[in-house]
């Protein structure tokens, strides 16, 4: 009976049946072929099944069949475009999880973030990843663009790809900026108020644009919903569309540009030939992509876990209280810096628009056929100048530049910032010994003789306060100052810390600035 069963035939038939299923799924590659792909062996069949998938499978047909060896050198691209895309995928994935809990309404938005942080396992992890991924996307978009500019890769057949890249820069910035408002904290509310008020400066249709974005004269329920929909629907869809166009050009039309020295440098022909050697997508390029993905993921995960990067969250948005130090997101600081230089319409809208148009037009203006740095000194010089100007303008955009608040307010704001921790809140709770500490009267050492280990942090804080007021007095900003630090026990586990600074103003009138904060034992760090 058993003899009548032909095991060899059954084995063969089973193998064939599995193999054909696998071929259906992989769009043409059998089991042997898969094995040799993973081992890095040459193709097992002819014609090469690894090319066939590029016509039969959708996901493979949008990938390149090969890149030229020279263009895959790490220092040619630094994989900047790849990482930008990787970050976008991380954003989509983490964003989807955040959307499960987030409620886009002024009453609920902030508390839904608090809920994510305090009641959702891995909630903080996902939020931190989303935030860091967003920062990464902006940074890598910018670096990608800078690299493309410096290697002259926007020329000839790649000029349209550059144009879609400029659009993507805009989309990335607005994706990030529209997400900024969603937590509905002070940081978000005021940064977006500043940002949208720039739109107002646009000639003719400024008011309309502002109204369209905010949904009302001030950001409220409508504005939040609009930003939310921009952030989760319109901009991601646009991004996917434009990235598809941008990437298809690279993968299927002109490939990644060779390093300028290999393309036009004075090098032996065999080297040139080697640079043009084809590296197939399967298995080399795909393994490379997975490899870089694992590197990107491990770095991002390390950053939010071991290195403790945390997405900022300030106190809930309060339209009635403008924070002392209002700041645009860092990638718009240059714009804030420009606004300090002159007229709102000119500096905030007309010049930036002209710059964007210039960016679009670069491939069409630059007729220089060469790509090497040394053969295009003017373009490279201009590019580097633009980077320096951006950095300087960004510095000018920070609140440290050009905004004078009076000395007493500044001192107290530095010691007890409205948001975040600051020196006072970092003093351990036990060391905040109740008392009246008068600058230049109370001795700065041995402030708490009844504490076993004394209160070094309080002492250094008091010394800091003393130095700052004395310095301001020397500079003539606080004539005849008297400054006091008061600490009271206010409630169980709650202390009140008051700063009071008195001085004589220009009209010889006595002025006082006073600010109190409360510190709870369990408040924790940031």
């Amino acid at each position: 009976m058993l003899k009548s069963i032909n095991f060899a035939e059954i084995r063969q038939r089973t193998w064939n049946s599995i193999d054909s299923r696998v071929r259906a799924i992989t769009a043409g590659m059998g089991l042997h072929e898969l094995r040799s792909v993973v081992r890095g062996d040459p193709p097992t069949e002819k014609p090469n099944p690894r090319y066939k998938v590029h016509t039969t499978s959708f996901l493979f047909h949008i990938r390149p069949r090969y890149y030229e060896a020279g263009s895959t050198i790490l220092t040619n691209t630094f994989r900047l475009g790849f990482f930008t895309t990787l970050f976008l995928f991380i954003e989509v994935f983490t964003g989807l999880i955040l959307m499960v809990y987030y409620v886009p309404s002024p009453e609920k938005a902030y508390s839904s973030i608090i809920y994510i942080m305090s009641n959702v396992p891995f909630g903080q992890f996902i939020r931190d990843m989303h935030r860091l991924g967003a920062e990464g996307m902006v940074i890598f978009t910018f670096l990608h663009m800078l690299r493309t500019y410096l290697t002259g890769s926007y020329k000839k057949e790649r000029s349209f790809t550059w144009l879609t890249g400029v659009i993507l820069l805009g989309i990335t910035l607005f994706l990030s900026f529209s997400g900024y408002l969603l937590p509905w904290d002070q940081l978000a509310y005021w940064a977006v108020t500043i940002g949208t008020s720039m739109a107002e400066a646009a000639p003719i249709f400024g008011d309309q644009v502002n109204l369209l974005l905010r949904g009302a004269p001030d950001i409220g329920e409508n504005g939040l919903l609009r930003f939310y929909l921009l952030h989760v629907v319109l901009l991601p869809l646009l991004a996917i569309l434009v990235i598809s166009i941008h990437y298809y050009k690279v993968s299927r039309e002109h490939g990644i540009s060779l390093p300028p020295r290999l393309e036009e440098g004075d090098i032996p022909p065999e080297k040139k030939k080697e640079a043009k050697r084809r590296i197939d997508y399967l298995p080399d390029l795909m393994t490379g992509e997975i490899f870089w993905t694992s590197i990107g993921l491990v770095l991002l995960v390390m950053a939010v876990t071991i290195f403790g990067y945390h997405a900022p969250l300030e106190t809930i948005a309060n339209p009635q209280v403008t924070p002392l130090d209002t700041e645009a997101p860092w990638y718009f600081l240059w714009l804030q810096g420009m606004l300090k230089l002159g007229d709102k319409s000119l500096m905030g809208i007309i010049i930036p628009t002209a710059l964007v148009i210039l960016l679009f037009a670069i491939p069409y203006i630059d007729r220089n056929p060469y790509r090497s740095l040394s053969r295009r000194p003017f373009a490279v010089g201009l590019g580097l100048l633009a980077v320096v100007v951006l950095i300087v303008l960004s510095y000018m955009g920070t609140p440290h530049f050009g905004i004078e608040s009076d000395a007493a307010t500044r001192i107290v704001q530095d010691l007890v910032p409205e948001e975040g921790v600051g020196p006072v809140r970092s003093v351990p709770y036990e060391q905040l010994q109740p008392g009246v500490y008068i600058v230049n009267e109370t001795p700065t050492s041995r402030l708490c003789p009844n504490l076993d280990y004394g209160c070094p942090d309080l002492e250094s804080l008091f010394a800091d306060y003393t130095n700052r007021t004395n310095l301001a007095e020397e500079e003539g900003k606080l004539p005849d100052s008297d400054a006091v630090l008061l600490i009271d026990n206010w409630q169980q586990d709650l202390k009140k810390v008051t700063f009071r600074i008195g001085w004589t103003d220009e009209l010889s009138e006595r002025r006082t600035y006073e600010r109190s904060i409360y510190i709870h034992r369990e408040r924790g760090g940031e």
Partner: protein, 282 residues
């Protein structure tokens, strides 16, 4: 020798394993982290509530919540936490009671003889939903701050309602003979000492390193160039400071912190006693 593809597969696999381990180890601490976050958030709610209480509630309920006799009831009070809900027949939690009262206020006082409030409404509504100044989360913060008194609140004696003519604001009027001992007791029962001796919320009564005590200072104020009141003697200065505190503010102290209703809640005798006591602080 391994070629590039094989090295990438090896290193990539290693990195994926490392990432997974890091995420799992991070996850082990999640419960604790979430609890910590919750505690810290609650602590910050109390901090925010303290600021709001100072700005919105303290003028009537006292900076330390000890209430102001003849105006508003104490909240930092044993009775408030132990008995109040039963007396008003409230079924929810204490925190909800506070939120509800602060949200909609009180049209009339429930204890008009002791704490009439400021008339009609006895307590204004504070929520933006009903025309007040505060958002819902701010009212919740205030409630968190008030609830933090629960563990330490002591019983606050209700002082008897004043009998006899009230003090008024005419500082030149002849007051009866004052008794310093009774004045000292009044200073405690009216909670004056909370701000003027125990904490530096108001000008300090006793002698300090830089200044003499209140009696000598009252005398000196009269000749100060920035003095803006009408008093001509130390006694009148103290009368004015108690009955009409906004007339002159000592440098460094804000207007409106000192309750301004003593002219109608203190009798002439009480005021005379208080002044007599203060004049002994030399």
């Amino acid at each position: 020798m391994l070629d590039r593809v094989q090295i990438q597969i090896f290193v990539g696999t290693l990195l994926v394993i490392i990432t997974t381990v890091v995420v799992i180890v991070y996850g082990l601490n999640e419960k604790e982290r979430m609890l910590e976050y919750e505690t810290a958030y609650q602590a910050r709610a109390i901090e925010a509530g303290a600021t709001l209480f100072e700005a919105q509630c303290s003028r009537c309920h006292g900076t330390q919540g000890t209430g102001i006799p003849g105006l508003c009831p104490p909240l930092n009070d044993r009775y408030f936490f132990d008995q109040r809900l039963k007396d008003v027949g409230w079924n929810g939690t204490m925190e909800d009671y506070i939120v509800s009262t602060a949200t909609s206020g009180r049209l009339t006082s429930t204890r008009p003889e002791q704490y009439p409030g400021q008339g009609v409404p006895a307590m204004p509504s504070f929520s933006q939903q009903v025309g007040g100044p505060l958002r819902e989360d701010q009212i919740r913060n205030i409630a968190a701050f008030i609830m933090n008194w629960e563990g330490t609140a002591t019983s606050i004696e209700v002082p008897p309602t004043p009998e006899g003519p009230v003090a008024g604001t005419d500082i030149t009027k002849d007051l009866p003979e004052g008794d310093p001992t009774s004045g000292e007791n009044l200073a405690v029962s009216f909670a004056c000492t909370t701000c003027h001796i125990d904490a530096p919320t108001g000008p300090y009564w006793l002698e300090s390193d830089t200044e003499p005590a209140i009696a000598a200072r009252s005398e000196a104020r009269l000749s100060q160039p920035d003095y803006s009141g009408n008093a001509t003697t130390a006694g009148e200065y103290l009368f004015e400071s108690i009955a009409n505190p906004s007339m002159y503010l000592v440098t460094g102290f804000a207007d409106g912190v000192m309750p301004n209703n003593y002219s109608s809640t203190l009798t002439e005798q009480d005021l005379a006693d208080l002044i007599a006591y203060l004049l002994t602080l030399k």
